[in-house]
């Protein structure tokens, strides 16, 4: 591998900022544009940038594929289990109003959890797809 000093230094500056921006988009989706889908893609793009600059093996050391598989299913599970939780609290499936003391607080909690599930699944699946495509071309 070549040295690519400028790429390495700049991406070391950029990657934390990208992750921070992803978290902002994730948890600020209630108030501005954004949400789980966009945040998941932005987060996975930071890891993809790392993989492009420092190599696939280094990136797979940070997030192993086994953990990604668990995370991908965990996100969908969080989403679905919020629905189950609202059934057990006496409402319909995915009716968040019953999750907390007041309906508005329940909706806030429900939307936050659901978006978190979306973000986890989307970022994990994007990384799974990227890793399996790129890992395939490895000798």
């Amino acid at each position: 591998m070549t040295h690519n000093l400028i790429l390495r230094v700049i991406s070391k500056f950029l990657i934390p900022l990208i992750i921070l921006f992803a978290l902002y988009v994730q948890f600020h989706g209630d108030f501005g544009p954004g949400g789980g889908f966009q945040a998941g893609v932005i987060f996975s793009s930071s890891i993809i940038l790392y993989a492009l600059v420092f190599g696939l093996d280094a990136a797979e050391k940070i997030i192993p594929t086994a953990i990604l598989r668990i995370l991908a299913s965990l996100g969908a599970l969080i989403y679905a289990s919020v629905g189950i939780a609202s059934i057990f609290s006496g409402g319909n499936y995915l009716n968040y109003s019953v999750l907390a003391d007041t309906p508005v607080a329940g909706q806030h909690l429900g939307i936050l959890l659901v978006e978190l599930g979306v973000g986890i699944t989307v970022s994990a699946v994007m990384l799974i797809i990227f890793f399996s495509f790129v890992g395939r071309s490895r000798p």
Binding site: D30, F31, G32, P33, Q38, G83, V104, Q107, I111
Partner: protein, 191 residues
């Protein structure tokens, strides 16, 4: 006024990019142009005040799918489109022109952009706009609709993404050690 100028410039660039994509044969350059195409459409969505859609288009269309397509090219090692020379464009051209003309004819019946009397604005949209703050307390109506009013839809979308991940894993996931392992075993059997 400024909106019209921006719209015309963006649409002109979209058309130029599309023509360039059609005329090019270098797949790597085409992928780059696809990214530019997505980014221009994201700009158009911003002009139309659809920031959430623009955000998704910029992140997914211009970002991730460009990377994935480059990864695919690296995998297939095909850099150029093959031209056979026997290709006759007249039938496809006629089909495309007729379909396009029909679609343009269809748009004549569509209500004007942003028309408050349009059927789409009169169905559930007024309820969402009026009730989303008292119901959910979330200022961004798009998030309220996506995550709460239509939570079941979004659950389906997440499952679609999850299924796509599983499909990719099943098709090309995992290490490629199996073939060499099979070979070794065959060699063992031979000896």
């Amino acid at each position: 006024m400024i909106d019209i100028v921006i719209n015309i410039v963006l649409l002109a660039f979209l058309a130029i990019t599309a023509i360039a994509i059609v005329r090019m044969t270098n797949l790597f350059a085409i992928i780059m142009l696809f990214g530019i195409f997505s980014f221009l459409s994201a700009g158009l969505f911003v002009v139309m005040d659809a920031v959430d859609v623009a955000f998704t288009e910029a992140a997914v269309g211009a970002g991730i799918s460009t990377v994935l397509m480059i990864a695919t090219i690296a995998l297939t090692k095909v850099q150029k489109e093959k031209h056979t020379g026997k290709h006759r464009p007249w039938l496809p051209l006629a089909v495309v022109i007729i379909t396009g003309a029909t679609l343009v004819y269809g748009t004549l019946d569509i209500p004007a952009f942003g028309d408050p009397e349009a059927p789409a604005q009169k169905h559930v949209a007024p309820y969402y706009i009026k009730q989303s703050i008292p119901d959910t307390g979330v200022p961004n109506v798009v998030t309220a609709v996506l995550a709460s009013y239509r939570g079941f839809d979004t659950l389906g979308e997440v499952v679609v993404v999850f299924t796509a991940g599983i499909a990719v894993l099943l098709l090309i996931g995992g290490k490629r050690t199996k073939q060499s392992a099979i070979k070794k075993e065959r060699e063992k059997d031979d000896t």
